[in-house]
């Protein structure tokens, strides 16, 4: 067990190191740096000024030195300065994280509380009209682009209430703040719920075929008790594993949804930073996302082993 943990932690570090190299290299082959973008916007170029700014930002140094500076700073908790706002990158990123975390949490909650029950119903009523209907609806849900779903919700809100829900940094009441997050969270969560529903369905069907279900039925257990206490308890395990996949899936949805609803979270910030060639923000944010994904997957693996005694880690 301990050797497994050490091995996993080591592999995680190797992966994160690899990601840092990939991201750093990718950002360095971008045509034009922040200085070009700024000067393009200003409309004139003074070469001496340009060289001075590049020197200030450390862009004139060899690429290896730039990389070492970044990683060295990262290990000390110094993420450098945003090129655009000139504030410390950490101060730019940190306040945006809770906004996105709240949105992601609500979206996940929405996805699980809609996806799991519907998946169970679909499996129990396999090959009925209801099952057919739910399967088609879930496939349709997976086919909608997340940003379009957001736009449709905006459109519906214009039609129903005459206004668009606007993000407000200081909501008046708890209820206002809940609505403000709940609507975009539903837009993100709907797609995820379709994914969870499909997985719950196939996992339930797998379990319902097992011998112990037949045993339960033959000893006279009610259908209700079979479905919920015998089957779902065992079917839920694979659903736990998908939370890792889900984390990656959610981030994609959050990026476009925060853009549509104009929510100042980290996901939208990443897109803005990419547009501005704001390297310190982009490379740190991407690293942050990678750390989240890698850690979530690690925790899910541990959780899976803890929940299912048949699984031995490192075996």
């Amino acid at each position: 067990m301990l050797s497994y943990l050490v091995q996993r932690l080591f592999l995680m570090l190797v992966t994160l190191f690899g990601i840092s190299l990939v991201i750093f290299a990718l950002l360095r082959i971008v045509p034009g740096n922040i200085v070009d973008v700024l000067f393009d916007a200003a409309g004139f170029v003074d070469p001496a000024e340009k060289i001075k700014i590049e020197k200030d930002l450390g862009l004139d140094q060899p690429i290896v030195v730039q990389y070492a500076t970044w990683i060295g700073g990262l290990l000390r908790g110094d993420l450098g300065f945003s090129y655009v706002s000139e504030k410390p990158a950490l101060a730019e990123i940190l306040p945006r994280i809770p906004i996105t975390a709240r949105l992601a949490g609500l979206a996940l909650l929405f996805a699980v509380s809609l996806g799991v029950p519907l998946g169970v119903v679909s499996a129990v009523k396999q090959n009925t009209r209801l099952d057919y209907f739910l399967r088609v609806v879930s496939l349709a849900g997976l086919s909608l682009p997340a940003f379009w779903l957001g736009l449709l919700i905006l459109m519906a809100s214009v039609a129903l209430f005459g206004t668009i829900p606007i993000y407000n940094a200081a909501p008046k009441s708890m209820w206002d703040s809940f609505v403000m997050y709940a609507v975009p969270a539903a837009a993100v969560g709907l797609r995820s719920s379709a994914l969870i529903m499909r997985l719950t369905r196939s996992s339930m069907l797998e379990v319902l075929r097992q011998d112990y279900i037949r045993t339960a039925r033959s000893k006279g257990a009610s259908e209700r008790s079979i479905n919920y206490s015998h089957a779902l308890k065992n079917a839920i395990l694979p659903i736990v594993t998908i939370i890792g996949v889900e984390a990656a899936f959610l981030i994609g949805g959050l990026i476009v949804t925060e853009t549509v609803f104009n929510i100042p979270g980290v996901a939208r910030f990443l897109v803005e930073a990419i547009r501005w060639r704001d390297y310190p923000i982009v490379q740190n944010l991407v690293m942050f996302i990678a750390v989240v994904v890698v850690v979530v997957n690690f925790v899910v693996d541990l959780l899976y082993a803890a929940l299912d005694p048949r699984i031995k880690l490192g075996a």
């Binding site: 690899g18 396999q126 682009p145 736009l151 459109m155 214009v158 668009i164 899936f249 994609g252």
Partner: protein, 297 residues
């Protein structure tokens, strides 16, 4: 392989289908949703091929008089802020989505197959290195990696295809590797070895064809994800550049503003994206049922 599966299906259902046509009709009835998906896909392929004949207007011609015209007899699905016909732009946009879907799927799957097959068949340090590479690519969400790559490469059709293809590689590589590991131990591979066949020949002629079923299922799913990702990239302004009529791009042109004033600019391009991905998903589900009986539900 396919013939065999169809025969098995026919026997199982006890159908007395006669001739090729009878078999097709049987399959269409057995996999009704898959057939609907196939019809949707064929429709989009034909639209892409014959865009010139289908579109009533040129997708790029600006006409200030018709700016933001509502759907009607002249512009069936309305016109955008430059007076360009929305229906014609959607018709031509099919080409972009098809190009990205097919291009990214082919590139991503081929790279994935090469990595998965070498990794699984050779094992050892090659496997170790390739697996770390796959881990690295998989730790970043599809859209995040595609965003950074698209920004790094610059906006163009080829770069968008590349930016989407690379994040698709790890899934294929994983599945092919796992399959290869199982196949490598089977008696027919041993027999081929005993018969003195070269390793490369065994890998390509005996192992690869046996991984085809899961590969086809995966590739269908990737076609859909590629189209969705292109739409997201273009929506965020980092995919296909103006003036090309990419569906995602059509939605990005201050869509939030048109939600109030010109809803047709928001509804129709989104419908096109959803419909093509829906068709892919329906077809993919049926293909999985037919080709991969272990996953049949």
């Amino acid at each position: 392989m396919k013939q065999l599966e169809i025969d098995a299906e026919l026997k199982k259902a006890g159908a007395h289908a006669k001739g090729r046509f009878g078999e097709l009709r049987f399959l269409a009835r057995r996999y009704l949703l898959g057939t609907i998906g196939l019809v949707i896909m064929i429709m989009f392929i034909l639209t892409a091929l014959f865009a010139e004949w289908i579109a009533p207007f040129d997708p790029l011609t600006v006409n200030a008089k018709q700016a933001l015209a509502a759907p009607g007899a002249l512009h069936w699905l309305g016109a955008d802020s430059f007076g360009r016909d929305v229906f014609s732009r959607i018709v031509y946009g099919t080409r972009i989505s098809m190009a990205v879907g097919i291009g990214s799927m082919l590139l991503g799957s081929s790279l994935g197959v090469v990595i998965g097959l070498t990794s699984g068949y050779l094992g050892g340090w090659v496997d170790l290195v390739f697996q770390r590479l796959v881990d690295i690519l998989q730790a970043l969400p599809l859209l995040v990696l595609a965003l950074v790559m698209a920004a790094a490469l610059g906006p163009s059709l080829q770069n968008t295809i590349l930016a989407i293809a690379i994040p698709l590689v790890p899934t294929v590589a994983r599945v092919i590797r796992a399959n290869t590991l199982t196949l490598r131990e089977l008696p027919f591979v041993e027999a081929a070895k005993a018969a003195g066949m070269s390793e490369t020949r065994i890998a390509l002629r005996h192992v690869l064809p046996n991984t085809l079923a899961p590969l086809i299922v995966l590739a269908t799913a990737q076609f859909g994800s590629a189209i969705l990702t292109e739409a997201s990239l273009s929506f965020l302004g980092l995919g296909i550049p103006e003036p090309h009529p990419s569906w995602g791009r059509m939605l990005s042109e201050s869509a939030a503003e048109y939600v109030r004033t010109a809803p047709w600019l928001v509804i129709f391009p989104g419908l096109a994206i959803s419909l093509i991905v829906f068709g892919t998903n329906l077809l993919g589900d049926a293909l999985r049922d037919i080709l991969d009986p272990r996953q049949r539900t």
